[in-house]
Structure formats: structure tokens, C-alpha cells
Symmetry: C2
């Protein structure tokens, strides 16, 4: 599987006339080499060659031990200690992969930090090679957007886990419980259900707080009449799920029901619309059109969804379900569908599912009840 | 308090001849403006002016709501929506703060991503201003290294919380429990003890795994004779604690005891050595000298410690306790002291405390038993 991915990368590098692709710890490195690292200030870089030859990895000695057994099978290590610093190891590794005089090098704009970029630039200068540095993100994103059967199975399990936890979490909602208390319960239930971790710090937003799509969990206690947005996810074999449901604590107002109905219709219509060849923009238009027609267009503050897979916070995967996302999507592409309406001072509603494009249209990994759940108050 | 920090920043900018300091979401932004953001692919930048005037912040509309109430007090917002993209907002904000023709701009090399750097460079080109971009990390790190009384109180509480959790976690160690099970227990105990979160994913390394200082938690079950390294931390009011203790499950071998004694002596001597004016290099030399004299010099794989405060993974704070860290440290500087010995195939020991330099010498926030704890097997 990894060999296939490296072959595919070499092909893409030839197509884009790239000499080297430089990948830092994160989802792309995990995808390409099946190695994970603790994120760190210590320089760690993998260098992928255009000829498809063995990649090189510049790595702190401290980290090498953790990945050593596996890493030796897939890459050559250039290690450095805290007392040496990384410069020599980087020079030695780069010298092996850079062509003379000038090189086209792709780096991950949305992941690589300025410190790694400057280290590469300095090394290029020292080696007398002029580097043209371009963005590797589109190339790597395209590779990762369509999932294989193993990836889809992991995502289905990640969805199953989070839904089991979500049910148990919602069952513990009652007046007087705080957002922070429920957030902790949610974390515990996700871990108890078999997750490797949470996809992101879960979000519990109640009452007026639900009007903020990125609310930070607070000590607000639930009150009868609240809408409560629960947004959470589980990691399984590195792959993430991401689900949102909005419940009412006691009978909601007619206004809240109307908001909910608009969001549910948008969620349903968007899922029904998905089929091979649709674009992110089209799916967004379908969901946004329904919400706008219901009179809430100005309150749908974000895109309709984002890609999903190995990548979790802080960086979503492509595709984006948003205006100008005009690439036709293929079978096997996975993303969220999560329309929402947020009215300051009133409250908010979001309903989020994780789906994959199939030959027949759309399969949703998440199947948790979408009709409004009214918790007794 | 924040006003003081902005005044101090303006002074440092004048000293370093900087026109603008650009800060992305993270510890520095929290320190300077007391605002936190979800990390995101959406461009979010704060621009600090040399004249000490109100900072500007380029921010997705989606995020603005969460910080709006507070942000309006401290900064001017330049917002952008997903459909607009960030370019216009960034241009408008930069135009207000950049001098004509050329500007010296400092960015955080260890935090800012290439995407933000490129956005700045593009905006500079469009405005016809030549940007000289330098590293802001040393300047900001120096400001943050010495803590005020509020910060020290938060760190003491973060230490108290993690020590309460550590005691309850160790009490649940017995043969047959796995690293992953104990890791989950540790997380739950940290949250139950009152943490806002964990400082980092806690590390539980047992038996041969303890020889890897950055072990990824596994499904290995504890066995009599194991050394078990527990490394964990709690966040309180944004400030982190970070503690490591190593316990034995059943009576350890004489070799394991000898390793432990060397590490404990190094930890104690390093703490005893700390006083105003010492350097990170000197503290490292004290700890390393003792471990080397005991014959384990080649097995002390990392620096003796790192700064601690708002910053958690992936980026430690200064100071580094390592060779070439030659700046004299002032009263109020906080860091870890964490010598360790790691022998492949045998096991490892680390003993980590969180300390602050005081007029009198050194105060350790962490006070959990340092003598070897032998858990009944």
C-alpha cells in the first residue's frame, strides 16, 4: 500500500516537474510512510525523490528510537542530537537528493513552519543550489482525497465509535449540568467507546452560546428551553469522524423549530444531491439555497463542509464545500456535510454528517437520529 | 496587565528596529491580547505597531464572534468570510501599519506557517512595500520567560492538579493493566482534578518501552519487574504543568535501582544549583555531570529541561537547559528539570519537576515523592 503511494507521488512529481517534496510530521507523512511523530520544535523533515527512490528523513536522535524499527524499512535516517543541532544532518540529506545548481522543491504551505522553510533555504544556499519553493499541498491533497477500502473501513469505525459516545452523552443532559461537565463526559464516552483519541476538543454550546459556531466550552449551566449543539469526533487507526447534532432541552420555541427544520432540510438535500462528479461548490449551493429560501441566508456563517480523513484540527482535508470549489469529486471522496444557522442572542443549530461518494450516490458513515431530539427538562 | 505587555513590546520593537510584529494564533497571541482561537487553515493574524497603537487583527468572520466582546476592547478587527477570502482584509490591515517603501517585519518562525508568510509577502508586493522578514521568537520569548505573580499562581495550581491526578493514577497500576488503559485513567484523573485540559497527550512507557523517551502509548500490559515512566501535565488558566515520575512494579533489579539513583541525584543537584543568574547550559552541565560520572552519560538522550508557561506541545518555551544556552536567567523564570537515562532493551528512568527561580534560589511547583516508589506486584 505504501509502495503504491510512493509510486503515485513520484508520478505526480514528474508531472509537476518537482525535484524534491519535503514533508514535515503530520498527516501527509503518516500517509506516505506510516510514521507518526510528536510535533516538536526539533527539525524533522522527510525528503521524497522524483526517481521514486528511498526517501530520506532528517530526524532528532531522540525521535528515531520511537520509529526506528519501522522507519528502517522505508527511509534512510539522517539523525542529529540536541548538542549537534540539525544543520549537518540536513545538508547531508539534501545533498543526496538535490540536483546541481537549481531545484524545484515542494513544501506543505499549510503545515510547514517558517523555521523549516528557512532551514531549507539556508541549506540550499550552503550547497550552492538555487531553490524554487512551491506549494505541495494541492498535489498531496489530491492523492489523499480518494480513500481506499482500508481507509473507508477505519472511517466507518470512527463514526460508529463517536455515535455510541454521542448517544450516551446526550442521555446525561439535564438542567443544571454545565457545558464543561458535559464536554468531559463526552470525552470519556468517546475514549470508553474505543477511540484512539478525540478528533478535536469537543464543542458543547448551549442557549445563546449555540449562536457561535466555534464557541469555547464554558461553565454555563443548561436551562430549559436551550438549544444545545454537540460537535465531536473520534480517531480510529488514525482516521477521524466528526459529527454534530443539536438537541433541545425541553420544548423549543417555534422560532427554534423553524431554524432546525431549515438546517435539517439543507442537510438532507445536500446528502441526497451527492453523486460522482458533483463539486464542493454545488453541494454548498444546494444547502445554502434551502437555508436562504427559509430566510436564514445571512446566518449560515460557514462553508457547508470539509474533507475528512487522516487530517484533523488544525487543518481540514480537501475538498471544501464552498463557493469556487469547482473540481468534480470522484467515488471514494470523503467529507462532512454540516449546514448551520446562528442567530446572535437567540441560538444556533448545526447538523453534521460524514459521507463518502459512492457509485450509487452517497453513503453517510454517521446515521445518528437527525430529527430534533427533545430532552426532558 | 495587557497594557503593560503591549508597552513592553513596543519598547522591544524600537530596540530591534522593527516596524511590525505579526503574531498568529497561539501562546504569544494569548499572552499579548488574551484571546484564544481554534487553530485553523483560515488566515488569522495580529499586527502590532511600533508606536504602541491599537493592534489590528485579520480574522475570519466565523471566529470573530467567539472573541468579539473582548477583542473590541484591545484591537481593530479586519474580518473576512469564506466566500471573500482573506486577501482584501489583510491588505487593508497591513496598509494601516506598514511604513512606505520598506519595512522590517518580525514573525514567529517556530509557529507561523508558510501559508501565512506567503500571504504577508504577497500583500507587501501588492502594497509596493519591500519587507525584510525576521524572527520574532527571541523577542517574544524574552518577554514571556519571566512570569508575574498571576502567572506563577496559575502554574502552581496546574502543578497541584497534575500531582493529585498522578497519585490516583499510580494507585491503579498493577500487573495486566496496559499502557493505554493507564493513559486513559491518567487523562480522566487530570480532568477530574480540575484541569482545563492536558498539557500534552500523557506518556506511559513500561518495561522495555521506557527506554524510549518519546514512546507512543501501546497495548503492552504491565509485568512484575517493569519500570514505568509516567509523564503528564495539566492546564490551568492557560498555564501548563509537566511532571514525570518513574515507578517500579515489584522490586526492581539492582541495575534499575542504580539508574534510578543516578537520575534522582542529577535531578536533586540541578534543583539545588538553580539561583538567579545561572544559565541553562550550567544547569544541564550539573545534571549531565552526575549522570556521566555514574557511567550513564551516553544514555542521557535529551536536554535537562525546557521553559514552561503558556506554551505546551508542539512548542516548548525558552529557556532550554542544554549546551550553548548561555543567557543568565532571572528571578521568575520557569522551566522543567528532567534528567533521564534510557538503555535500549533494559529500560529508562526520568524524574521531572517544574521550577521557578526565586531570590533565594529555586522553588519547585511539583513536590510529588521523588524517592523510587515500588508498587506491589
Amino acid at each position: 500500500m505504501l509502495t503504491n503511494r510512493l509510486t503515485q507521488l513520484a508520478g505526480a512529481m514528474a508531472e509537476h516537474q518537482l525535484d524534491v517534496v519535503v514533508v514535515v510530521p503530520g498527516a501527509n507523512l503518516r500517509y506516505l510512510l506510516n510514521v507518526s511523530f510528536h510535533p516538536s520544535k526539533r527539525l524533522t523533515l522527510a525528503l521524497f525523490r522524483r526517481d521514486g527512490g528511498r526517501p530520506s528523513i532528517v530526524i532528532p536522535t531522540l525521535e528515531l528510537q520511537g520509529v526506528h524499527e519501522h522507519l528502517g524499512d522505508v527511509a534512510d535516517a539522517y539523525q542529529w542530537t540536541d548538542s549537534e543541532g540539525p544543520s549537518s544532518a540536513l545538508l547531508e540529506a539534501l545533498e543526496q537528493v538535490l540536483p546541481a545548481q537549481r531545484a524545484r522543491v515542494a513544501v506543505e504551505h499549510t503545515v510547514m513552519r517558517v523555521m523549516e522553510l528557512r532551514a531549507l533555504e539556508d541549506a540550499g544556499r550552503q550547497l550552492g543550489v538555487q531553490l524554487e519553493i512551491v506549494d505541495a499541498t494541492p498535489l498531496l491533497a489530491r492523492m489523499r482525497m480518494v480513500k481506499d477500502v482500508h481507509e473507508l473501513a477505519a472511517m466507518a469505525e470512527a463514526a460508529r465509535i463517536v455515535e455510541a459516545a454521542l448517544g450516551k452523552t446526550i442521555a446525561q443532559i439535564k438542567p443544571g449540568i454545565t457545558e464543561r461537565q458535559l464536554s468531559l463526559i463526552c470525552t470519556q464516552e468517546i475514549m470508553a467507546a474505543g477511540a484512539e483519541g478525540e478528533s478535536f476538543g469537543n464543542l458543547i454550546a448551549s442557549g445563546p452560546n449555540s449562536a457561535n459556531p466555534h464557541h469555547n466550552v464554558s461553565d454555563r449551566a443548561f436551562q430549559p428551553g436551550d438549544l444545545i449543539v454537540l460537535d465531536c469526533g473520534a480517531i480510529y487507526r488514525g482516521y477521524a469522524s466528526d459529527i454534530t447534532r443539536t438537541v433541545a432541552l425541553g420544548e423549543p420555541t417555534p422560532g427554534a423549530r423553524a431554524m432546525y427544520d431549515a438546517v435539517l432540510k439543507a442537510n438532507t438535500a445536500a446528502r441526497d444531491f451527492v453523486r460522482p462528479g458533483v463539486t464542493g461548490e454545488q453541494i454548498d449551493q444546494v444547502a445554502r439555497g434551502i437555508i436562504t429560501a427559509a430566510g436564514y441566508g445571512d446566518y449560515f456563517l460557514h462553508r457547508t463542509g470539509h474533507g475528512l480523513g487522516l487530517e484533523i484540527n488544525p487543518c481540514h482535508e480537501p475538498p471544501d464545500l464552498v463557493a469556487r470549489s469547482t473540481e468534480p469529486l470522484a467515488v471514494g471522496t470523503t467529507f462532512t456535510i454540516e449546514p448551520g444557522v446562528y442567530i446572535q442572542g437567540v441560538g444556533g443549530v448545526r447538523i453534521e454528517d460524514d459521507v463518502v461518494i459512492t457509485e450509487a450516490g452517497c453513503r453517510s458513515f454517521t446515521t445518528f437520529q437527525r430529527e430534533l431530539l427533545v430532552v426532558p427538562s
